[in-house]
């Protein structure tokens, strides 16, 4: 019988986190690597598998140097077979191991759909609580790199529809490390989405290991007039928008959700009580996505706090364009967010 993680425990975990301030500045990709390597040193059950993760150091160099440290038994190059290694991970997890599976891009996880959506999140449920799937699936997610329509998925909209999954989407190096520690230690399957455009972003990352609890948002700007909710790379667009709006005397709360499953709805409602206005920024498509879920919840549970209808800024409802100018026009950006915030203010 699963236990319940009380909200209070999460508060305690948050209170215990090391400071975000400091001068140990590294890239987001290094932060992910530090967490993986740390967990692998502690726990022989953890291994990393995927295409090009070993000798090539990963298509995006997230696993750089890990082959040297851990050897080919634990850093494993595979055939080009996403469904293959996703399914292998399910078997390995059932045998008591803790696989980390890298998808070169989450766009390629679509060929592994049955394993990751039909097996992984349901295994515990379908086996009457017997077999969990403590696998971390991770890789590059989201458009912006002019990779064309088939390589630019933001899978969070599609995948967050499925019960039984956890989905973490860090926006900065500090969170990237803490969320990865949590992901690997979690007894349930975690999809960890790395916005490819921010892998080289730098920030202070403590050297020690720390686990950021899933389901707790981080407020990165504080304000009175509107709540901006986002996750992953678009958090930066929200911050830009908030900073520009502040110059005009309009202040916003910016909530970085960090995980969309579980979703820290309480943090959103709390902020809304103060601002009474909300704009949700989500770089996946608008129809039936995370933004629409947030807005549904707000309408269902916090309707009385609204002074204006909730708005969302998504990517447009077309395949991700290949042409640079079109791709930029397609994505959320600070200007679109500013326009939405101003609209809520009437």
């Amino acid at each position: 019988m699963p236990t319940t993680l009380e909200h209070a425990d999460l508060d305690a975990m948050i209170a215990d986190l090391p400071s975000r301030e400091g001068d140990r500045v590294i890239q987001l990709r290094e932060a992910i690597r530090e967490a993986m390597a740390h967990e692998m040193r502690q726990d022989k059950r953890v291994f990393l598998m995927g295409e090009e993760v070993a000798y090539y150091n990963g298509a995006y160099k997230v696993s750089e140097g890990m082959l040297d440290e851990f050897g080919p038994e634990r850093i494993i190059d595979t055939p080009i077979s996403e469904n293959g290694f996703a399914g292998l991970a399910v078997g390995a997890a059932m045998y008591g191991l803790r696989p980390i599976i890298e998808f070169m891009s989450w766009s390629f996880s679509l060929v592994a759909a049955d394993q990751i959506l039909n097996n992984v999140p349901k295994m515990l449920y379908m086996s009457g609580g017997q077999w969990g799937c403590p696998v971390v699936f991770r890789g590059n997610d989201g458009p912006g790199g002019q990779l064309g329509s088939t390589h630019s998925w933001s899978v969070e909209a599609l995948y967050s529809n499925v019960p039984g999954l956890k989905i973490a989407i860090p926006s900065n190096p500090y969170d990237a490390k803490g969320l990865m520690h949590t992901a690997i230690r979690d007894d349930d399957p975690v999809f960890y989405l790395e916005s490819e455009r921010i892998l080289a972003d730098k920030g202070h990352v403590p050297e020690e290991a720390y686990a950021i609890p899933f389901g707790r948002a981080n407020r990165t700007r504080e304000g009175e007039d509107c709540t901006l909710v986002s996750f992953g790379r678009p958090v930066h667009f929200c911050e830009q928008a908030a900073d520009m709006l502040a110059e005009e005397g309009i202040t916003c709360d910016v909530l970085d959700m960090r995980t969309v499953r579980p979703l820290d709805s309480e943090a959103i409602f709390d902020s809304l009580k103060k601002t009474n206005r909300i704009v949700v920024v989500d770089q996946s498509w608008p129809f039936g996505g995370v933004a629409s879920e947030v807005i549904s919840q707000v309408c269902e549970k916090a309707f009385d706090h609204l002074d204006h209808q909730p708005l969302r800024v998504n990517s447009d409802d077309v395949p991700t364009p290949y042409a640079k100018n079109l791709e930029q026009a397609f994505l959320p950006n600070a200007d679109k967010i500013i326009a939405a915030v101003k609209k809520t203010l009437g």
């Binding site: 019988m1 055939p79 077979s81 399914g87 078997g91 059932m94 515990l124 019960p163 007894d187």
Partner: protein, 376 residues
């Protein structure tokens, strides 16, 4: 040399016990003892009866759907015995037509009935039993067997990952990815393909243009072999060799067991609509139970008395199993959140509380099993 043969291969077919109960004593060497044969015959008889009763339960509305194993007992029985004799240490990733392999290695007989009655707890495998839940999406589970084989190698444990699947499943890409992984990564795995000639209404000739299913493993570096799947001696010998090859050489084996689905695909199917009775009659003569019994009788190891005894025993066992499966208290509605996560997130805790305390959530279980969805 401008032209040369880059690769040649052959597929051997093994039959040791023919349909008349005649044994090839040379090939039978170091396979089954008399005791083993009696044991397997008894197990196959119990399984046959289990099938009949499951069919009746479905017809009388006490079970959702059921896929009969009838006619295909020999392969899973023999493979199951090989693994049982090794102490049931190997991992089995089943589909749904190899009950005996599971029963012989620790899965309680009520589990499978409970599953088909529509209860997730039927897939709850007792601790220490190395069997995965039945996989209903066709062909997705051989990859899990590969993961189990991979883990055995990683942990340096003497275990093999074994996948059971049908002829139809070999058309799924997943199965080929599994076969490729096992070959390329040199994993201790065995692929046991029961070619029962049909995938629902699709004959195996529509499934593939290959002369055999066994040869499909060649491209992935497997040892490949075809056996008479209704022959417990051949299945035992070949499966045992495959397990040893996996353990000692980390070389996977692809076994095609030629057999026949004597029953319908499932209770939701009526095979008379698409296949000739003459074909069924022909295969009924090759029934593994008939030939095994003939063999035992010829050796003086079996007679009508013993037959009556095993039939009585099968009835007793199966009726007890049915009683156990039907006797389990129905799950409570609010339980359905419990197995969502190892640690239930707040949002689901709230949903569960609502379910427990609202009128709708406490609705008594009035649904009848007859209303359950039918799997294809």
């Amino acid at each position: 040399m401008p032209k040369r043969t880059a690769y040649t291969a052959k597929i051997e077919h093994y039959q040791i016990l023919d349909e008349n109960g005649e044994l090839d004593t040379r090939l039978a060497k170091n396979t089954l003892t008399d005791e083993d044969v009696v044991f397997l015959y008894e197990q196959m008889s119990i399984s046959r009866h289990y099938d009949e009763i499951a069919f009746k339960l479905q017809r009388s509305g006490r079970m959702g759907t059921y896929p009969q194993n009838k006619g295909q007992e020999a392969g899973p029985a023999a493979a199951g015995l090989v693994m049982k004799q090794r102490g049931s240490v190997d991992w089995i990733a089943p589909c749904y037509r190899e009950n005996l392999a599971l029963f012989l290695n620790g899965l309680p007989m009520e589990s499978i009935l409970l599953h088909w009655m529509g209860d997730e707890r039927g897939n709850k495998i007792p601790d220490g039993v190395n069997i995965l839940p039945m996989a209903i999406p066709i062909g997705t589970h051989p990859l899990h067997a590969v993961g189990l084989g991979w883990s055995a190698k990683y942990k340096e444990e003497d275990r093999v990952g074994v996948a059971f699947f049908g002829d139809g499943a070999t058309s799924e890409g997943d199965v080929h990815e599994a076969m490729n992984f096992a070959g390329a990564l040199k994993l201790p795995c065995v692929f046991f393909c029961q070619n029962n000639k049909w995938a629902i209404s699709v004959p195996s000739s529509t499934q593939t243009a290959s002369e055999t299913f066994a040869q499909k493993g060649l491209a992935y570096g497997h040892h490949c072999v075809q056996v008479d799947g209704n022959d417990i001696f051949a299945c035992y010998k070949i499966f045992k060799e495959a397990i040893d090859r996996a353990r000692m050489e980390h070389k996977p084996t692809f076994i095609e067991a030629l057999t026949y689905r004597l029953g319908d695909h499932t209770t939701a199917d009526d095979a008379r609509r698409y296949r000739d009775q003459a074909e069924v009659d022909e295969w009924a003569k090759k029934d593994p139970l008939i030939r095994t019994r003939k063999y035992l009788e010829n050796k003086g190891l079996w007679d009508d008395d013993r037959q009556a005894q095993i039939e009585a025993k099968a009835k007793e066992i199966v009726s007890r199993v049915v009683k156990n499966a039907e006797g389990i208290e129905k799950p409570k509605t609010s339980d359905f959140f419990d197995d969502m996560f190892a640690v239930l997130p707040d949002e689901l805790v709230r949903q569960r509380e609502t379910m427990r305390t609202s009128v709708l959530g406490q609705r008594p279980q009035t649904e009848t099993l007859a209303g359950q969805p039918q799997h294809a």
